[in-house]
Amino acid sequence: MAVRTIDVRERVMARNDLIAASVRGRLQDAGVVAFNLVSSPGSGKTALLERTLEALDTELDIAVITGDVQTQNDADRLARCTDRLVQAVVTNGACHLDALQVETALDAIDLGRTRLLFIENVGNLVCPASWDLGETAKVVVFSVTEGEDKPLKYPKMFREAGYAVLNKMDLLPHLDFDVAAAVANARSVNPALRFFFTSARTGEGMDAWYDFLRTRVEAASPA
């Protein structure tokens, strides 16, 4: 068998990054701040968004895109907290959202009436770290029911994120979780990571998160 070699040298993410750049431009032109929420399954992304929508939906004109491997359960939960459309993307087996899915979902969102967009990614701390969706920043959510070493086990995700939310703080008295160690581990991977400490269930720490969102939306709004 004679074999012919075809030189390719193509970045796997090249096509996605091109679409992501287009999404980012579209959002910037509309003055929309977009946060890509990434986490392992069960860290409380949907609960965090439910609380946030209840508190800020009308104030900040929030739109949401949710990604799930199967079902649109998260979108259905969030739709109860807002009158606006919650765009559900079912990935049919894929373990992450990609920029094309977000670009398509944006077509159904009135960006003229949106100032803050949340993209709730598929629960997975590996692949979503590699996929640029055109977001303003990634927000990694993890909870005190997970290990303090999560940032060391999944360094790329914590390196790619601009912000971290440590959630389920109300459970801390019942666990051995070491908050200082978790923060130190995360900052050893990404020294610039900014933390929020929340309980989406009780509301603890949510005010700092809300103030941060208000500040970011205000800064992006046309003068």
Binding site: A2, I6, E10, R11, V12, R15, S130
Partner: protein, 81 residues
Amino acid sequence: MALEIRRIAETRLAPDERARLVTVGLEVGEESGLEPENLRFCLAAVFAEPPFAAPRTIIERPPGDALRVTYLEVDDGRPDD
């Protein structure tokens, strides 16, 4: 990721070459966040379907976070020279 690699192979090969793809060459950087054996497993699944015929995967591990399809090898249908 595996599906995207399959898409790149589809775009780089003519339709009649796809079944004759024998090797997919990749660079998966040590800091790419990908575990080569996991990727190899996924690639075996997505390249098992026609028009492909289960090509082998050769993965290099350079430093850094590169993630690149470097080359494709196709059986050109001729006997060895």
